[in-house]
């Protein structure tokens, strides 16, 4: 199936054939293809989808395309769509709409769905409540495997996953039973003997990234979400967890590049929005760099006496920046995947110190020899090499230290990445450089 085929069938009004193809098509692919069509064709083809599939395709579409699509749909069709979607997807869709539209749409959706949506809408964007779904299978501990399978048969179609079922009594989750347990055991076995009473769970106000990490760590298809009183209120499934992990990485990378994080795709973000998310840090860092500038001003007699000194500034600054960002990147990532903890701070700084000795010595040697060959001046060689050693040592220690401290202070360590580290290290490296130059070259 591809875009051209769909358009051709639509143009030739071969609706029956088109309908057959749409029936078989993968909803993820369909969402992608629909997004490439113009509004009119998009609406025409979308109307041919059966209700359930339409809701699924709609959930997979990007925000902009969804907005284009609903322009062509009647209110009753949109309400039908909301009724058919899983509550978490519906919330995802409604979260982007104006409040009055949400109210008007919710008034017409069916009572159960409305209750679920209102329930989910109350959770903050970062909490696991915002990604959980409320459609899951509840079992009773006194059921047999056969009764459990019968219950799943009845409610299964509307559940996001039937592979982990929850044994519930008075709204509390007593244990979990997997579909694997049900299939591999005899029909008369009691659920109470099958259920696992120790299970991994999340609490509604937990950070969604932490929960996604938990799901990935334990390799689970889904995990139950309990509210603060311990009542079962929803589940999180692995596909939502993967999405969260991907989004969080994108956000981390943006922060590490001095950009205000956004989950809007690059191409559909306007020039103004892009500029807005970048200008803040650029301004702050630009003005901070004047500190380094003013240190240089203090030493103008040094480079007036030995002008060649100026030509090594870029090399020193870049090497300092690169050394520092190597360290900070490794530490930020290590913290994000829980490989490094705050309590490792001394181990980490000590390790970076030793690495900086090895690395800076090699760099200083290579550069010292190069400078001596080019300028035949052993003192100049010495000034640059010693400055390089000092710069790299400071860069690596600052680069390791700041993300760890940020973690402790509950600031996102991703802020302590290349741009900020570079600006800080620049100041030190210029100071070291001119200090060493004044002493050795006796300026």
């Amino acid at each position: 199936m591809n875009k051209e085929l769909l358009l051709k069938l639509l143009e030739e009004r071969k609706l029956k054939e088109l309908y057959e193809i749409l029936l078989k098509a993968n909803p993820v692919d369909l969402a992608e293809i629909l997004s490439e069509l113009d509004e009119k064709d998009m609406v025409l083809i979308f109307r041919l989808l059966e209700k359930k599939k339409g809701a699924e395709v709609f959930s997979y579409m990007e925000k902009e395309n969804r907005n284009n699509l609903i322009k062509g749909l009647s209110k009753s069709k949109i309400v039908e769509l909301i009724d058919e979607m899983y509550a978490d997807d519906a919330v995802d869709f409604l979260a982007d709409m104006p409040a009055n539209v949400v109210t008007s749409l919710l008034e017409s959706t069916n009572a159960e769905q409305r209750r679920d949506i209102n329930h989910l809408l109350q959770y903050s964007d970062d909490s696991v409540g915002s990604i959980m779904t409320v459609e899951y299978v509840e079992l009773n501990k006194n059921m047999t495997v056969k009764e459990a399978l019968d219950k799943i048969k009845k409610v299964g179609i509307d559940s996001e996953t039937i592979y982990t079922c929850y044994v519930v009594e008075n709204r509390k989750c007593l244990g979990i039973v997997t579909a694997k347990d049900l299939i591999l055991n005899e029909l008369d076995v009691k659920i109470s003997t099958l259920m696992k009473e120790e299970f991994v769970y999340a609490v509604t106000n937990e950070d969604r990234e932490d929960v996604a990490n938990k799901l990935s760590k334990y390799g689970l298809i889904a995990l139950p979400v309990l509210d603060t009183e311990g009542y079962l209120v929803g589940i999180v499934t692995f596909d939502d967890a993967i999405e969260v992990l991907t989004d969080e990485v994108t956000e981390d990378m943006q922060k590490m590049a001095a950009i205000v994080a956004s989950d809007k795709p690059y191409l559909s973000t306007s020039v103004w929005e892009h500029a807005k998310s970048r200008i803040g840090w650029l301004l702050v860092l630009m003005l901070s760099a004047t500190v380094t500038g003013s240190i240089i001003t203090k030493y103008d007699h040094a480079f007036e006496a030995v002008p060649i000194l100026v030509s090594f500034i870029p090399m020193l600054m870049d090497t300092g920046g690169n050394s520092g960002s190597q360290s900070s990147t490794l530490i930020i990532r290590g913290l994000a995947v829980n490989e490094i903890k705050f309590s490792d701070i001394f181990k980490v700084v000590w390790k970076e110190f030793r690495i900086s000795l090895v690395v800076s010595f090699i760099l200083a040697l290579a550069n010292g020899i190069r400078i001596f060959i080019m300028y035949k001046d052993i003192n100049l060689s010495l000034v640059v090499s010693l400055s390089l050693i000092g710069t790299v040592i400071i860069a690596k220690i600052v680069g390791a230290f700041l993300p760890m401290i940020a973690k402790k202070l509950k600031i996102d360590p991703a802020i302590m990445a290349a741009p900020l580290i570079t600006t800080i290290v620049d100041t030190f490296s210029i100071m070291i450089y001119f200090k060493i130059a004044s002493v050795i070259l006796k300026i």
Copy 2:
């Protein structure tokens, strides 16, 4: 359950109680706790685990800890472990062992497992073959749901997932049937009417990152892997895909920070290994920065005439570097998550150009005013501001362009990140700066 409790029970020789706790413990947690024990206790507790659970716990342990553990195990116990592991986990373990040890161990494992392992060992580290598993459920299209469920009951325990089953005829995969289909349909329904003939699959030599992205895109629990002749040879499950995605992000971040990528945890990597993976790029970038230095040398008459010019070099270099790395980071990430394609190159460069106009104008204005207030010199203000505009425009275009070109040339775009971009942009910004200064200040 925690480390202290286990050690206490072990010390007091309460083995029965210990055994009971281990029986209930989550294998992921157990792997974590075992890793914190010293070798002797680790071996003692590991021996108390039942075979299947032991193999599972072993699969979740880090390489170093596994190596410590097996030092305390007999060869026959290790062979038993390999027999019990899923073939893909066994391969993962054996891949780190010396070849002669692998041969000796494989000689003693059971024939079927040996065949599976040898089969998997032939795939390269990057291919999906290296992460696939060969334990899956095969069905026949003429079976009924009841027969299928009976078959799963028989072979299910040894399969990594029973939630997606594969309908196979003459080793070709005709379609897939989910456990959901089996549970929700009546017992006498034929598999041939249930199976989905259009399904997402991977080919053995496909890149494992691409396959992980596919699994995540379609939200699948598992997908089938076909060899180049179309025969079904294995499956990839979502938990392996999550691991691949996490590893690939770590590798990308390392490359973006000018580090040779490694999947070894930070803390267990030695100082020498760390230094080795960092020194290469630092040397290359340091020597490249001398180009910028030599441009400065050419203009020494300029800053001898107007020494204050030197003090703006750090600010210009940093702002150029930061602007460029903002762009390159967004593009690299966009390419990695398939949000941006090579065909978008003109759209992307045009967007970055417009963003650079907005951003550079604001930066130039802020800095121009600051300089005028500090030095009361409109020409100096103008020189720095115009240089800033030129630098930012070039930085953003280079930052957007290089990752796109790398993608086209099948080089990893992550190489074209902050460190390299900064070095390239430095050269341009220094050239622009002194050129503009010569003209406006008539030096």
